[in-house]
Protein backbone atom coordinates (compact mmCIF):
# COMPACT_ATOMS: atom_id res chain seq x y z
CA UNK A 1 0.00 0.00 0.00
CA UNK A 2 1.44 3.29 -1.09
CA UNK A 3 1.25 6.35 1.13
CA UNK A 4 -0.97 8.09 -1.46
CA UNK A 5 -3.66 5.47 -1.19
CA UNK A 6 -3.48 5.51 2.56
CA UNK A 7 -3.86 9.27 2.61
CA UNK A 8 -6.84 9.17 0.29
CA UNK A 9 -8.46 6.44 2.33
CA UNK A 10 -7.97 8.35 5.53
CA UNK A 11 -9.40 11.56 4.08
CA UNK A 12 -12.42 9.76 2.75
CA UNK A 13 -12.96 7.96 6.02
CA UNK A 14 -12.65 11.17 8.00
CA UNK A 15 -15.13 13.03 5.86
CA UNK A 16 -17.51 10.08 5.89
CA UNK A 17 -17.31 10.00 9.65
CA UNK A 18 -18.06 13.72 9.91
CA UNK A 19 -21.01 13.38 7.54
CA UNK A 20 -22.34 10.37 9.41
CA UNK A 21 -22.15 12.27 12.66
CA UNK A 22 -24.04 15.16 11.14
CA UNK A 23 -26.80 12.90 9.86
CA UNK A 24 -26.98 10.96 13.09
CA UNK A 25 -27.27 14.14 15.11
CA UNK A 26 -30.05 15.45 12.92
CA UNK A 27 -31.84 12.13 13.17
CA UNK A 28 -31.65 12.18 16.96
CA UNK A 29 -33.00 15.68 16.92
CA UNK A 30 -35.94 14.92 14.68
CA UNK A 31 -36.83 11.26 15.24
CA UNK A 32 -39.47 11.86 17.87
CA UNK A 33 -41.15 14.63 15.94
CA UNK A 34 -41.16 12.61 12.74
CA UNK A 35 -42.74 9.60 14.41
CA UNK A 36 -45.40 11.81 15.95
CA UNK A 37 -46.04 13.46 12.59
CA UNK A 38 -46.46 10.10 10.88
CA UNK A 39 -48.92 8.94 13.47
CA UNK A 40 -50.85 12.17 13.32
CA UNK A 41 -50.95 12.06 9.57
CA UNK A 42 -52.35 8.55 9.52
CA UNK A 43 -54.97 9.38 12.11
CA UNK A 44 -55.86 12.55 10.27
CA UNK A 45 -56.22 10.80 7.00
CA UNK A 46 -58.45 8.12 8.49
CA UNK A 47 -60.63 10.42 10.57
CA UNK A 48 -62.68 12.05 7.83
CA UNK A 49 -64.06 8.68 6.80
CA UNK A 50 -65.37 8.12 10.31
CA UNK A 51 -67.57 11.19 10.29
CA UNK A 52 -68.65 12.16 13.78
CA UNK A 53 -68.44 8.70 15.35
CA UNK A 54 -67.10 8.85 18.90
CA UNK A 55 -64.50 6.29 19.81
CA UNK A 56 -61.79 5.74 22.36
CA UNK A 57 -58.07 5.26 21.95
CA UNK A 58 -56.14 5.19 18.73
CA UNK A 59 -57.87 3.82 15.73
CA UNK A 60 -54.61 2.71 14.19
CA UNK A 61 -53.90 0.39 17.07
CA UNK A 62 -56.63 -2.12 16.28
CA UNK A 63 -55.65 -2.80 12.71
CA UNK A 64 -56.49 -5.91 10.70
CA UNK A 65 -54.35 -6.69 7.69
CA UNK A 66 -55.99 -9.18 5.35
CA UNK A 67 -54.02 -10.93 2.66
CA UNK A 68 -55.94 -11.88 -0.46
CA UNK A 69 -58.16 -13.73 -1.02
CA UNK A 70 -60.23 -11.98 1.59
CA UNK A 71 -63.59 -11.41 -0.04
CA UNK A 72 -63.22 -7.65 -0.06
CA UNK A 73 -62.87 -5.77 -3.34
CA UNK A 74 -59.47 -5.81 -4.98
CA UNK A 75 -56.95 -8.58 -5.01
CA UNK A 76 -54.27 -6.95 -2.90
CA UNK A 77 -53.94 -6.34 0.82
CA UNK A 78 -57.04 -4.95 2.49
CA UNK A 79 -56.76 -3.16 5.82
CA UNK A 80 -59.53 -2.83 8.38
CA UNK A 81 -59.26 -0.29 11.20
CA UNK A 82 -61.70 -0.78 14.01
CA UNK A 83 -63.07 1.79 16.42
CA UNK A 84 -64.43 0.84 19.86
CA UNK A 85 -66.09 2.82 22.56
CA UNK A 86 -65.99 1.27 25.98
CA UNK A 87 -65.09 -2.07 24.43
CA UNK A 88 -68.15 -1.93 22.19
CA UNK A 89 -67.46 -1.80 18.49
CA UNK A 90 -68.76 1.42 16.95
CA UNK A 91 -67.36 1.51 13.43
CA UNK A 92 -64.89 -0.03 11.03
CA UNK A 93 -62.77 1.56 8.30
CA UNK A 94 -61.98 -0.44 5.16
CA UNK A 95 -59.01 0.43 2.99
CA UNK A 96 -59.72 -1.52 -0.20
CA UNK A 97 -58.92 -1.37 -3.87
CA UNK A 98 -61.51 -0.60 -6.54
CA UNK A 99 -60.88 -2.16 -9.92
CA UNK A 100 -62.28 -1.05 -13.24
CA UNK A 101 -61.21 2.58 -13.21
CA UNK A 102 -59.74 4.19 -16.31
CA UNK A 103 -56.15 4.15 -15.20
CA UNK A 104 -55.30 1.43 -12.77
CA UNK A 105 -56.52 0.60 -9.26
CA UNK A 106 -58.25 3.17 -7.06
CA UNK A 107 -57.49 2.86 -3.35
CA UNK A 108 -60.50 3.90 -1.31
CA UNK A 109 -61.36 4.18 2.34
CA UNK A 110 -64.91 3.28 3.41
CA UNK A 111 -66.09 3.95 6.93
CA UNK A 112 -69.06 1.88 8.17
CA UNK A 113 -70.84 2.27 11.48
CA UNK A 114 -71.64 -0.83 13.50
CA UNK A 115 -75.23 -0.67 12.26
CA UNK A 116 -74.11 -0.75 8.66
CA UNK A 117 -74.51 2.92 7.70
CA UNK A 118 -71.67 4.61 5.84
CA UNK A 119 -69.86 7.22 7.87
CA UNK A 120 -67.64 8.51 5.10
CA UNK A 121 -65.78 7.67 1.91
CA UNK A 122 -62.33 8.93 0.96
CA UNK A 123 -60.09 8.27 -1.99
CA UNK A 124 -56.57 7.41 -0.87
CA UNK A 125 -54.85 6.92 -4.21
CA UNK A 126 -55.84 7.00 -7.86
CA UNK A 127 -54.57 7.84 -11.32
CA UNK A 128 -57.81 8.87 -13.01
CA UNK A 129 -57.87 11.68 -15.55
CA UNK A 130 -57.28 15.04 -13.87
CA UNK A 131 -60.32 17.25 -14.18
CA UNK A 132 -62.58 14.35 -15.00
CA UNK A 133 -62.36 11.17 -12.95
CA UNK A 134 -60.64 12.91 -10.08
CA UNK A 135 -63.98 14.36 -9.05
CA UNK A 136 -64.20 11.34 -6.76
CA UNK A 137 -61.72 13.14 -4.51
CA UNK A 138 -63.46 14.97 -1.74
CA UNK A 139 -61.32 18.03 -2.29
CA UNK A 140 -62.52 18.30 -5.90
CA UNK A 141 -66.23 17.63 -5.61
CA UNK A 142 -68.72 16.49 -3.02
CA UNK A 143 -69.65 13.46 -5.08
CA UNK A 144 -68.70 11.07 -2.27
CA UNK A 145 -71.09 12.81 0.13
CA UNK A 146 -74.08 11.14 -1.45
CA UNK A 147 -73.09 7.86 0.22
CA UNK A 148 -73.01 9.20 3.76
CA UNK A 149 -75.58 7.59 5.99
CA UNK A 150 -76.68 5.13 3.31
CA UNK A 151 -76.49 1.41 3.93
CA UNK A 152 -77.25 -1.91 2.37
CA UNK A 153 -81.02 -1.71 2.25
CA UNK A 154 -81.02 2.05 1.82
CA UNK A 155 -81.13 1.62 -1.11
CA UNK A 156 -81.40 -2.14 -1.57
CA UNK A 157 -78.49 -3.89 -3.16
CA UNK A 158 -79.75 -3.34 -6.73
CA UNK A 159 -79.86 0.38 -6.07
CA UNK A 160 -76.15 0.51 -5.37
CA UNK A 161 -75.44 1.49 -8.93
CA UNK A 162 -75.18 4.58 -11.09
CA UNK A 163 -78.44 6.14 -12.23
CA UNK A 164 -77.32 5.41 -15.74
CA UNK A 165 -77.21 1.71 -14.81
CA UNK A 166 -80.57 1.80 -13.09
CA UNK A 167 -79.27 2.59 -9.61
CA UNK A 168 -79.69 5.40 -7.13
CA UNK A 169 -76.45 7.34 -7.39
CA UNK A 170 -75.27 10.23 -9.53
CA UNK A 171 -72.37 9.91 -11.84
CA UNK A 172 -69.66 12.53 -12.17
CA UNK A 173 -70.14 15.10 -14.87
CA UNK A 174 -68.53 13.69 -17.97
CA UNK A 175 -67.31 10.52 -16.30
CA UNK A 176 -69.09 7.24 -15.66
CA UNK A 177 -66.30 4.70 -15.60
CA UNK A 178 -64.54 5.95 -12.47
CA UNK A 179 -67.70 6.41 -10.35
CA UNK A 180 -68.97 3.01 -11.46
CA UNK A 181 -65.77 1.38 -10.22
CA UNK A 182 -65.96 3.21 -6.89
CA UNK A 183 -69.63 2.37 -6.29
CA UNK A 184 -68.98 -1.26 -7.06
CA UNK A 185 -66.20 -1.36 -4.50
CA UNK A 186 -68.39 0.33 -1.85
CA UNK A 187 -71.22 -2.10 -2.55
CA UNK A 188 -68.94 -5.10 -2.17
CA UNK A 189 -67.47 -3.70 1.03
CA UNK A 190 -70.96 -3.23 2.46
CA UNK A 191 -71.89 -6.80 1.61
CA UNK A 192 -68.69 -8.08 3.18
CA UNK A 193 -69.37 -6.07 6.32
CA UNK A 194 -72.92 -7.34 6.44
CA UNK A 195 -71.88 -10.98 6.30
CA UNK A 196 -68.75 -10.80 8.48
CA UNK A 197 -69.72 -8.22 11.06
CA UNK A 198 -68.94 -10.35 14.16
CA UNK A 199 -65.62 -11.70 12.97
CA UNK A 200 -64.40 -8.28 11.98
CA UNK A 201 -64.74 -6.86 15.44
CA UNK A 202 -63.67 -9.99 17.30
CA UNK A 203 -60.45 -10.79 15.52
CA UNK A 204 -57.23 -9.84 17.33
CA UNK A 205 -55.23 -7.02 15.80
CA UNK A 206 -52.58 -8.05 13.29
CA UNK A 207 -49.14 -7.88 14.80
CA UNK A 208 -47.02 -5.01 13.54
CA UNK A 209 -44.16 -6.39 11.57
CA UNK A 210 -42.18 -3.19 11.81
Amino acid sequence: MTPGVAKRGTTLAAIAAICATLVAATYQLTAARIAANEQAWLENSLKPALGDVDYEGSITAAKLVLEPPHGLPGNDVAIIYRAYSGGVPVAALFAVTARGGYAGPIRILVGIEADGAITGVRILEHRETPGLGDGIEESRSDWVHQFYGRSLGDPPVTGWNLEADGGDFDQLTGATVTPRAVIKAIRETLIYFDTNREEIFDMPATAESL
Partner: protein
Protein backbone atom coordinates in the same frame (compact mmCIF):
# COMPACT_ATOMS: atom_id res chain seq x y z
CA UNK B 1 -12.30 39.69 -2.72
CA UNK B 2 -14.26 42.92 -2.57
CA UNK B 3 -17.97 43.30 -2.04
CA UNK B 4 -18.22 44.09 -5.73
CA UNK B 5 -17.13 40.57 -6.45
CA UNK B 6 -19.75 39.12 -4.18
CA UNK B 7 -22.47 41.15 -5.82
CA UNK B 8 -21.13 39.96 -9.13
CA UNK B 9 -21.34 36.35 -7.91
CA UNK B 10 -24.92 36.89 -6.83
CA UNK B 11 -25.84 38.45 -10.17
CA UNK B 12 -24.23 35.57 -12.01
CA UNK B 13 -26.31 33.04 -10.12
CA UNK B 14 -29.50 35.01 -10.17
CA UNK B 15 -29.52 35.99 -13.81
CA UNK B 16 -26.47 35.62 -16.04
CA UNK B 17 -25.84 31.92 -15.43
CA UNK B 18 -29.06 31.00 -13.73
CA UNK B 19 -28.86 27.22 -13.26
CA UNK B 20 -32.38 26.66 -14.53
CA UNK B 21 -32.68 29.30 -17.23
CA UNK B 22 -29.22 29.26 -18.73
CA UNK B 23 -27.44 26.10 -17.69
CA UNK B 24 -30.71 24.12 -17.76
CA UNK B 25 -29.57 22.09 -14.77
CA UNK B 26 -31.83 20.40 -12.26
CA UNK B 27 -34.66 20.19 -14.75
CA UNK B 28 -36.17 17.07 -13.22
CA UNK B 29 -37.27 18.66 -9.93
CA UNK B 30 -37.85 21.95 -11.69
CA UNK B 31 -40.41 20.41 -14.01
CA UNK B 32 -41.89 17.95 -11.56
CA UNK B 33 -42.71 19.97 -8.46
CA UNK B 34 -43.57 23.42 -9.72
CA UNK B 35 -47.31 22.86 -10.04
CA UNK B 36 -47.93 25.40 -7.29
CA UNK B 37 -46.05 28.31 -5.85
CA UNK B 38 -45.73 26.72 -2.45
CA UNK B 39 -44.21 23.54 -3.88
CA UNK B 40 -41.73 25.57 -5.87
CA UNK B 41 -40.97 27.61 -2.79
CA UNK B 42 -40.41 24.56 -0.61
CA UNK B 43 -38.11 22.77 -2.97
CA UNK B 44 -36.40 26.01 -3.91
CA UNK B 45 -35.55 26.80 -0.30
CA UNK B 46 -34.41 23.24 0.35
CA UNK B 47 -32.17 23.31 -2.70
CA UNK B 48 -30.86 26.74 -1.75
CA UNK B 49 -29.92 25.49 1.68
CA UNK B 50 -28.21 22.37 0.42
CA UNK B 51 -26.41 24.25 -2.33
CA UNK B 52 -25.10 26.98 -0.07
CA UNK B 53 -23.98 24.55 2.61
CA UNK B 54 -22.38 22.19 0.16
CA UNK B 55 -20.52 25.04 -1.53
CA UNK B 56 -19.21 26.26 1.80
CA UNK B 57 -18.24 22.77 2.95
CA UNK B 58 -16.55 21.85 -0.29
CA UNK B 59 -14.70 25.15 -0.35
CA UNK B 60 -13.64 24.79 3.28
CA UNK B 61 -12.30 21.28 2.77
CA UNK B 62 -10.84 21.86 -0.67
CA UNK B 63 -7.24 21.78 0.63
CA UNK B 64 -7.66 18.22 1.86
CA UNK B 65 -9.70 16.95 -1.04
CA UNK B 66 -7.47 15.16 -3.49
CA UNK B 67 -8.43 15.37 -7.12
CA UNK B 68 -8.87 11.61 -7.47
CA UNK B 69 -11.41 11.29 -4.71
CA UNK B 70 -13.22 14.57 -5.07
CA UNK B 71 -16.38 13.17 -6.60
CA UNK B 72 -17.09 10.63 -3.83
CA UNK B 73 -16.45 13.37 -1.32
CA UNK B 74 -18.87 15.75 -3.03
CA UNK B 75 -21.44 12.99 -3.08
CA UNK B 76 -20.88 12.27 0.60
CA UNK B 77 -21.26 15.91 1.57
CA UNK B 78 -24.27 16.56 -0.59
CA UNK B 79 -26.01 13.33 0.36
CA UNK B 80 -25.55 14.05 4.06
CA UNK B 81 -26.87 17.58 3.68
CA UNK B 82 -29.87 16.33 1.73
CA UNK B 83 -30.63 13.65 4.30
CA UNK B 84 -30.52 16.25 7.04
CA UNK B 85 -32.78 18.53 5.04
CA UNK B 86 -35.23 15.73 4.46
CA UNK B 87 -35.32 14.91 8.15
CA UNK B 88 -35.88 18.55 9.02
CA UNK B 89 -38.72 18.81 6.51
CA UNK B 90 -40.30 15.65 7.82
CA UNK B 91 -40.07 16.93 11.38
CA UNK B 92 -41.26 20.48 10.93
CA UNK B 93 -43.06 20.65 7.57
CA UNK B 94 -44.57 17.17 7.24
CA UNK B 95 -47.35 18.24 4.93
CA UNK B 96 -45.00 19.97 2.51
CA UNK B 97 -42.72 16.96 2.68
CA UNK B 98 -45.61 14.76 1.56
CA UNK B 99 -46.50 17.16 -1.19
CA UNK B 100 -42.94 17.28 -2.53
CA UNK B 101 -42.58 13.53 -2.13
CA UNK B 102 -39.48 11.98 -3.55
CA UNK B 103 -38.08 15.27 -4.81
CA UNK B 104 -36.50 16.30 -1.52
CA UNK B 105 -34.23 13.22 -1.43
CA UNK B 106 -33.72 13.69 -5.14
CA UNK B 107 -32.00 17.03 -4.54
CA UNK B 108 -28.93 14.78 -4.33
CA UNK B 109 -29.14 14.25 -8.04
CA UNK B 110 -29.60 17.92 -8.89
CA UNK B 111 -26.61 18.46 -11.13
CA UNK B 112 -26.58 22.16 -10.32
CA UNK B 113 -25.18 21.32 -6.89
CA UNK B 114 -22.40 19.02 -8.04
CA UNK B 115 -21.66 21.46 -10.85
CA UNK B 116 -21.11 24.34 -8.41
CA UNK B 117 -18.97 22.16 -6.18
CA UNK B 118 -16.85 21.06 -9.09
CA UNK B 119 -16.69 24.33 -11.03
CA UNK B 120 -16.60 26.93 -8.31
CA UNK B 121 -16.39 25.88 -4.68
CA UNK B 122 -13.41 23.58 -5.19
CA UNK B 123 -11.40 26.49 -6.63
CA UNK B 124 -12.50 29.46 -4.57
CA UNK B 125 -12.51 30.70 -1.02
CA UNK B 126 -15.25 30.04 1.49
CA UNK B 127 -16.76 33.49 1.28
CA UNK B 128 -16.86 33.52 -2.49
CA UNK B 129 -18.31 30.01 -2.54
CA UNK B 130 -20.93 31.02 -0.03
CA UNK B 131 -22.07 33.84 -2.24
CA UNK B 132 -21.89 31.67 -5.31
CA UNK B 133 -24.03 29.01 -3.65
CA UNK B 134 -26.38 31.66 -2.37
CA UNK B 135 -26.67 33.27 -5.80
CA UNK B 136 -27.12 30.05 -7.70
CA UNK B 137 -29.48 28.60 -5.12
CA UNK B 138 -31.55 31.76 -4.99
CA UNK B 139 -31.62 31.91 -8.77
CA UNK B 140 -32.87 28.35 -8.92
CA UNK B 141 -35.36 28.88 -6.11
CA UNK B 142 -36.73 32.06 -7.66
CA UNK B 143 -37.19 30.29 -10.98
CA UNK B 144 -39.00 27.46 -9.24
CA UNK B 145 -41.25 29.93 -7.51
CA UNK B 146 -41.89 31.93 -10.66
CA UNK B 147 -42.83 28.84 -12.62
CA UNK B 148 -44.91 27.56 -9.73
CA UNK B 149 -46.71 30.88 -9.51
CA UNK B 150 -47.35 30.93 -13.24
CA UNK B 151 -48.57 27.34 -13.46
CA UNK B 152 -50.77 27.71 -10.43
CA UNK B 153 -52.30 30.88 -11.77
CA UNK B 154 -52.97 29.48 -15.21
CA UNK B 155 -53.80 25.93 -14.22
CA UNK B 156 -55.81 26.40 -11.05
CA UNK B 157 -56.75 30.03 -11.17
CA UNK B 158 -55.33 30.65 -7.71
CA UNK B 159 -52.32 32.35 -6.16
CA UNK B 160 -50.35 31.14 -3.11
CA UNK B 161 -52.76 28.32 -2.36
CA UNK B 162 -51.99 25.60 0.19
CA UNK B 163 -49.84 27.82 2.42
CA UNK B 164 -50.75 25.57 5.32
CA UNK B 165 -48.39 22.97 3.87
CA UNK B 166 -45.55 25.18 4.98
CA UNK B 167 -46.91 27.03 7.95
CA UNK B 168 -49.43 24.57 9.28
CA UNK B 169 -52.76 25.64 10.61
CA UNK B 170 -56.01 25.74 8.75
CA UNK B 171 -56.09 25.02 5.04
CA UNK B 172 -55.96 28.29 3.13
CA UNK B 173 -57.27 28.55 -0.36
CA UNK B 174 -54.93 31.38 -1.21
CA UNK B 175 -56.20 34.06 -3.53
CA UNK B 176 -58.68 32.28 -5.73
CA UNK B 177 -58.95 34.37 -8.84
CA UNK B 178 -61.18 32.17 -10.93
CA UNK B 179 -62.60 28.80 -10.15
CA UNK B 180 -60.81 26.23 -12.24
CA UNK B 181 -58.26 27.04 -14.90
CA UNK B 182 -56.34 25.76 -17.84
CA UNK B 183 -55.53 22.37 -16.36
CA UNK B 184 -52.79 21.79 -18.92
CA UNK B 185 -50.54 24.19 -17.04
CA UNK B 186 -50.37 22.08 -13.88
CA UNK B 187 -49.85 18.85 -15.80
CA UNK B 188 -46.37 17.79 -16.90
CA UNK B 189 -46.60 19.32 -20.40
CA UNK B 190 -47.42 22.63 -18.78
CA UNK B 191 -44.12 22.49 -16.92
CA UNK B 192 -42.23 22.23 -20.19
CA UNK B 193 -44.20 25.05 -21.76
CA UNK B 194 -43.67 27.25 -18.72
CA UNK B 195 -39.93 26.65 -18.64
CA UNK B 196 -39.73 27.32 -22.38
CA UNK B 197 -41.60 30.58 -21.91
CA UNK B 198 -39.30 31.55 -19.06
CA UNK B 199 -36.18 30.83 -21.12
CA UNK B 200 -37.67 32.73 -24.06
CA UNK B 201 -38.49 35.67 -21.82
CA UNK B 202 -34.96 35.77 -20.45
CA UNK B 203 -33.45 35.64 -23.92
CA UNK B 204 -35.84 38.33 -25.06
CA UNK B 205 -34.92 40.61 -22.17
CA UNK B 206 -31.20 39.96 -22.67
CA UNK B 207 -31.54 40.64 -26.38
CA UNK B 208 -33.38 43.83 -25.75
CA UNK B 209 -30.82 44.96 -23.19
CA UNK B 210 -27.99 44.04 -25.53
CA UNK B 211 -29.61 46.03 -28.30
CA UNK B 212 -30.11 48.99 -25.99
CA UNK B 213 -26.44 48.87 -25.01
CA UNK B 214 -25.26 48.76 -28.61
CA UNK B 215 -27.20 51.79 -29.74
Amino acid sequence: MTSGHFIDRLQTGLWRENPGLVQLLGLCPLLAVTSTFINGFGLGVATLGVLTCSSVLVSATRRWILAEIRVPIYVLIIASLVTCTELIFKAWFPALDRSLGIFIPLIVTNCAIVARAELFASRNGVAASFFDGLGMGTGFALLLMAIGLFRELIGKGSLFADFHLLFGGEALAGLVIVDGGWLLAVLPPGAFFSLALAVALKNYLDGKRGAARRT
